[in-house]
Symmetry: C2
Subunit: 461 residues, 2 copies
């Protein structure tokens, strides 16, 4: 008999619905040195509201450019929608702790209990709300793993908006059922690069047989938005507005930890464009910035797409087609196309400007992990904690296990909190490869990275 | 702007973990006329403990045969495991109500927030626990939709048991990724009917090209259990023990309704073998039996496999291979093989003996619904409530919508409670057919049913 089923408290902490945050937290307000502004690629000057208006919804542009307001009210309709699936639970990983034999206390904030399968719904519903409020007809977007596309499809259905999704081809092929979920919510889904846009045709011609990237899909979705009257483009990560919306994760996490009287020592999140990590850590970073508390914060990225750990902090294009503004960020270069890594949501060449600046200021650290090690961690987590995690989230699990094992050596009873961003129900092709021993790792060479970094735009910043 | 986002209270009610039931409720204890006993097919006499011992775990046999103990303690290890994913939420379907414009208040008990995607885990962990406690090496089982197989795989992994799953061939083919989830939890999965058992080979020879049925898969799993030392067979539905374990659903539902001061008028559940419906309604039926309260209780079955509404209340074999004891139940005949209906979990020819007896006593009613109507309801539910439901669960959604629309006509503000047993993430082949307009209905003819009923065993009962 397994003899390790001892727990000394509650496993899950749910806030009450009336404890849901009433405002998002904007970490930029507490940063003395602000993130570098987006630049207009034509003029080289910081983008204005008017520059962004053809692409983004008005209210979202205001949020994007607002470096000063610390708390921005969550509209009541969005809070009502949040109540469908929020507050999400903060879970004590008793069973994983026992399997590892670690003295560390491991907690995870689980964002996967909704049909998008991830935290992406937190920003999707906000962006759909503002689009509808502006009287728009529809929205366009890209999706990698498919979680963002699903979240936006759900949100668009809720508000009666048309939704057009460009899905990175490798994910489109690996996850045929994701497309059906989006269609069930009324969205149209096109594999990217496609032949339906100028930039898609160009990329297909330059890189025949390419499996695509988030950078390509963004370019296509932006082009589709500006060419159709009544449409705007929305993005699921990287942007300041997205991190703002995702702060609901961190605010709830902080409130739940306070409720059970736990002070986090180490906070861990996976990092693709930064939406989950930025949302999870914002309130904690805020405390660090205000000198109220200290936390060790760790970003985990795939070794196949290591923007923090091997990229350069510089201005770069956000998309492969170079139609978007320039952002200063840790980047591998917008021409970097990662291998067909299964963690589709982490295949972005750059990183949120906010997180890049915080990382540059030494307020957080980063590590990279290899795919097979990630799936080993995912399997252990599934077998002990009962939740089949998304490959993206499993990067954070891997790092958490490694840190918890360090605690076992050192005897430290650290409180480790990580973001379990989503479930892996649509990632079974990847799990199958792992189960069959056919999963491979891929680490770009220094030459690969130097080649794409050599194409960075020449901008002072 | 959608102008219907008004809610006047909390959406989700979660009990605290310390409010989790400490005992299962055994509705048989309150039944004056007990369900008919299982019969030994050899002797025609009620089965004894010893008859069942080669097939089932000892403790589970005791539970199976216990018609008298009203409350059976849930062992601490099982309650600890339950805390991973329980208590499950009772959700007020505000958004569905508003889309229907009904005065009814609709509540659903959502059992899908765990990796098995359904309520099946409630009994799987109990059965794995007792198997481990008995010192067994492993368990065998059948699975239809794959939810039970996944739940048992998860539970077996947790206690370190070997797990062998016979999966109905039609589901095995429609849901390739289910197999990978089970493999990730360490189970082996065989499509049924297979060529690995005597009964599988026999059925394949008699019905070449058959897509299988739960009845066939049960026979194979039982054969595999009795032929391997240290193995027992476990079953996810139909049996008294399963309804006992699933009573945790109803007990939590009742406690949550009491907490928010709501008296249910109508309780609706989908019915395959009866595990979800029996678990959900047990405590409410108990009140009816004890004369404490009255409830309208509605079972919903697929028109393609209508055991309650078109079957006969008679002794029948539980499995196609006729290796199991005889049970008195509403049945279509053990040789009835339903069409390749997508609600794999509802394709069973019979029905729980407990529910059959309650139905026969007029304590509940039943209806049947057609598949395309079910998916229309599923899509509306997904778009309004944000959860993509399992096809099985969507039978209950269909009936709930129909009843809520009747309330709209009559102006009655009934409190309707239904069981949302699971999510449809692994049912996207069926959703795709529906999205493409290629879904068909199938209703067996009277001759189809008469033919299989003609083969009922000749037993007094």
């Amino acid at each position: 008999m397994r003899n390790s089923l001892k727990i000394d408290g509650q496993v899950k902490t749910y806030l009450h619905e009336d404890e849901l945050p009433k405002a998002w937290y904007n970490v930029r307000a507490d940063m003395k040195k602000k993130p570098a502004p987006l630049l207009n690629p034509g003029t080289g000057k910081p983008v204005t509201f008017e520059d962004l208006q053809p692409v983004f919804c008005d209210e979202l542009i205001k949020q994007e450019l607002d470096n000063d307001t610390a708390y921005i009210e969550i509209p009541e309709d969005i809070r009502t929608f949040y109540k469908m699936y929020r507050p999400s639970p903060l879970v004590r990983a008793y069973f994983l702790e026992q399997a590892l034999g670690t003295p560390a206390h491991i907690y995870y904030k689980f964002e996967g209990n909704n049909t998008s399968g991830s935290h992406k719904l937190n920003s999707a519903i906000a962006q759909a709300y503002y689009a509808k409020k502006q009287g728009l007809k529809g929205v366009t977007t890209e999706t990698g793993a498919g979680q963002w596309g699903t979240a936006l499809s759900m949100s668009s259905a809720f508000f009666g908006l048309d939704c057009q999704v460009y899905m990175v081809k490798v994910s489109y092929e690996q996850k045929p059922f994701r497309r059906e979920v989006m269609r069930t919510y009324g969205a149209s889904v096109t594999p990217s690069p496609s032949m339906t846009t100028d930039i898609g045709r160009k990329i297909n011609a330059e890189f025949p047989g390419t499996t695509g990237s988030l950078g390509c899909a963004i370019s296509e979705a932006v082009e589709a938005a500006v060419k159709q009257p009544g449409y705007r483009y929305v993005l699921g990560s990287v942007l300041n507005q997205v991190l703002l919306h995702q702060s609901v994760i961190g605010l709830e996490t902080k409130a739940a930890l306070d409720k059970i009287g736990v002070k986090a020592d180490l906070i861990i999140g996976c990092a693709g464009g930064g939406s989950n990590l930025g949302g999870l850590v914002s309130p904690f970073i805020g405390e660090k910035l205000r000198g109220e508390a200290d936390y060790d914060i760790l970003a985990v990225e795939p070794a196949s797409c290591p923007s923090f750990t091997r990229g350069k902090y510089a201005y770069d294009f956000c998309d492969t087609g170079k139609v978007c503004p320039l952002a200063k960020m840790y980047t591998l270069g917008s021409s970097f196309i990662p291998s067909a890594n299964h963690a589709g949501g982490l295949r972005y060449h750059g990183m949120s400007s906010i997180l890049s600046e915080l990382y540059d200021q030494g307020l957080m650290r980063a590590t990279s992990v290899e795919q097979t090690k990630v799936f080993e961690a995912a399997k252990l987590f599934a077998q002990t904690e009962g939740i089949l995690p998304a490959p993206e989230s499993s990067h954070a699990i891997r790092a958490t296990i490694d840190e918890a094992l360090k605690c076992k050596e050192s005897g430290q009873a650290k409180n480790i909190v990580f973001g379990l961003t989503g479930t892996g129900y649509f990632d079974m092709v990847a799990y199958q490869k792992f189960n069959d021993g056919e999963m491979s790792d891929y680490i770009p060479t220094d030459e690969d990275i130097a080649k794409s970094l050599a194409q960075l735009p020449k901008v002072e910043g």
